[in-house]
């Protein structure tokens, strides 16, 4: 009888442990806006990623000077841009590139943030003090300007370099967040027990502390993904993002730096601007739902 009870408790505990993703899913299902956001986002990203099957990249990126700035028509659903390229095709390609880069930057930044945050949180004391001071300093840098300076200075500029530069300036907040939760976690019994048993520090950090911070990390990654896509398109808009030849959603909007295009050729930039807006809103709605799921008190479902 007692045995059964213990087993039941253990099973319950295990369920609670695994259920963050299912809790998030439940939360999203119960929040109408979040569910709509998820469906819209999956549609947009899905269409963008399978577009190469029915749309040749060569045709989309080929310059055709005889048909520049054509208004929307049956052939070109959203008209053509400054090089006579189909705007609708560019939009799909751009959405795919922007999303991919946003994800890459978020993953890389999380990797840096996790490493530094876990070290500071796990060791605490003087290590934590030093890391915190450095983070304090890094967080007040005018990062937008410095990213632009880096982009201009780097030789052999490529997409890969761009991702690297952006991620270098995107992890400070994450490290802070993980550090503060890690500091609370290190006082808990399971960490003490593990230390007493002689488990190496890196194993405790990676296999014991990290899983317990996973919900926090997932929430943070969802929310910063939107920010990173915004920053990438913004930089490309200013002319310091993706190298020319790799269209991003920002590339189309960049054409709107010319007042004539803003005013008279709305089909070039407006769809891209609205698409960015929709993607950002969707990711944020999903992020908010996931955030509520991570905190039992705030759950709606």
């Amino acid at each position: 009888m007692e045995m059964e009870l213990t087993n039941e408790v253990l099973r319950q505990a295990k369920m609670n442990n695994q259920s963050f993703l299912s809790a998030a899913w439940r939360e999203i299902r119960h929040d109408g806006m979040a569910l709509v956001s998820l469906i819209v986002l999956v549609c947009i990203v899905g269409i963008a990623y399978i577009s190469p099957f029915f749309l040749s990249i060569d045709r989309v990126t080929r310059i055709d000077l005889s048909s520049i700035y054509l208004a929307p028509s049956a052939v070109h659903w959203l008209g053509t841009d400054d090089g006579g390229r189909d705007v609708f095709g560019q939009l799909l390609l751009g959405a795919r590139n922007s999303f991919t880069i946003g994800v890459c930057v978020t993953l890389l930044a999380s990797l840096y943030g996790l490493t530094i945050g876990l070290i500071a949180g796990f060791y605490g004391g003087i290590v934590d003090q030093i890391i915190c001071r450095v983070l304090d300093f890094l967080m007040i840098l005018p990062s937008l300007m410095i990213i632009i300076v880096f982009v201009v200075m780097v030789p052999n500029y490529s997409v890969f370099n761009f991702i690297l530069i952006m991620s270098i300036f995107a992890w400070f907040g994450k490290a802070r967040l993980i550090r503060s939760r890690g500091l609370a976690e290190r006082e808990l019994d399971y960490i003490h027990a593990s230390k007493t048993l002689g488990t190496p520090d890196w194993k405790i950090m990676l296999f014991e502390m990290l899983p317990n911070l996973s919900s926090l990390i997932i929430v943070n990654m969802t929310l910063t993904l939107a920010g990173n896509i915004g920053l990438e398109t913004g930089l490309t808009f200013l002319g310091f993002g993706l190298p020319s030849g790799t269209p991003s959603l920002g590339t189309l909007i960049a054409l709107a730096k010319n007042p004539d295009i803003v005013q008279n050729k709305w089909w070039v930039w407006l769809p891209a601007a609205l698409l960015i807006l929709v993607i950002m809103l969707c990711i944020n709605y999903i992020g908010q739902a996931v955030k509520r799921a991570s905190d039992a008190r705030q759950r709606i479902a």
């Binding site: 005018p142 300007m145 410095i146 398109t233 007042p259 803003v262 005013q263 950002m280």
Partner: protein
């Protein structure tokens, strides 16, 4: 309190030092130095002559000497020569900084004018349709990238409706010093300011709403109500006074957002301020100007954060340093 101010101010010194060293090395990595810049387009100057001039200007000294000279000049307000504009960087900045300060101050004022009433309404009538609307607006403003929003504003109000001028800081036809001039300047500010401030309201609304919801359950508010103080006075005097002070302190923290925002907004509205100067200078590879701008922005953020920390501490003594 005094100890706190002194400690916080001292903390600023290593930050400024580190920032300047970082930017110095960044500047050293940028192609071209003062000498190549000064002799650009003069092919009759040989490499040996250039080397001699470099030696004279001390460009071959060890980095610590060069850094000392550079930072010494910068503190005295000398940022060197702009290669492109052929004039001292300080002079160039002086011509632009006024516009950016106007833009930033106006943006901040409008942000608070919008955010404080919204936060108060949402906090007082929680769950009402007004609150739901404000919360939704807050979600949207948090998610919207500033350049997308600014472009939409420009398109709708600048071109389609044609209510406001679409670019520049003032019409060249109006005479300086007249009332019309001021009026025209204000008209040029409307769109850039609204684009910036409608998105900056997020943190203030969020904070004020949470604070008011929390404060209205507190004992001193109950006491006031029990004494028969009218609901309006409870909210405007008792609760607001309690909740609004920290908001004033957030001013300094907003500077980072203002600087990043001004780069986009000034580009979109072709507003002649520092943000646009930064983009123009980096496009034309005018690196002395770029360096000066990064240094000034960084220093502005550091000083702003310090002021905010100090004010926040004055308002709420429970807050401790990191």
């Amino acid at each position: 309190m005094l100890v706190f101010i002194v400690r916080r101010t001292l903390l600023m010194i290593p930050q400024l030092l580190l920032l300047s060293i970082l930017i110095f090395f960044l500047a050293k990595q940028m192609p071209g130095d003062a000498v190549t810049g000064a002799f650009m387009g003069k092919p009759n100057v040989s490499a040996e002559q250039m080397e001699k001039i470099r030696e004279q200007h001390g460009l071959n000294d060890p980095w610590i000497v060069q850094y000392g000279r550079w930072i010494g000049d910068a503190v005295r307000g000398d940022f060197g020569q702009s290669f492109v504009h052929k004039q001292p960087v300080t002079q160039l900045l002086a011509g632009r900084i006024e516009n950016t300060i106007w833009l930033s101050v106006a943006t901040l004022v409008v942000t608070y004018l919008i955010a404080i009433p919204l936060g108060m309404i949402a906090g007082r009538w929680t769950g009402s349709w007004a609150d739901q609307f404000i919360v939704t607006y807050n979600y949207v403003s948090f998610a919207t990238p500033v350049f997308v929003f600014a472009l939409l504003m420009l398109y709708v109000f600048g071109f389609v409706l044609n209510w406001f001028p679409s670019g520049g800081s003032v019409d060249i036809r109006v005479e300086e010093g007249t009332a019309e001039y001021v009026w025209d300047k204000l008209k040029h500010l409307v769109l850039p300011v609204l684009s910036g401030s409608l998105l900056l309201t997020y943190s203030t609304v969020q904070y004020l709403r949470n604070e008011i919801i929390e404060t209205k359950m507190k004992d001193f508010v109950k006491t006031a109500r029990a004494k028969g103080v009218s609901e309006n006075v409870v909210y405007h005097r008792h609760i607001l006074r309690h909740s609004i002070l920290p908001i004033a302190a957030f001013l300094g923290y907003e500077i980072t957002g203002l600087i990043a925002g001004s780069v986009f907004i000034e580009t979109i509205f072709s507003y002649p301020g520092l943000g646009r100067l930064f983009i123009d200078s980096i496009m034309t590879r005018d690196f002395t100007v770029v360096t000066a701008l990064v240094l000034i922005s960084g220093a502005a953020v550091i000083v702003g954060t310090m002021l905010s920390d100090i004010i926040l501490r004055m308002v709420d003594p429970r807050i401790r340093l990191g």
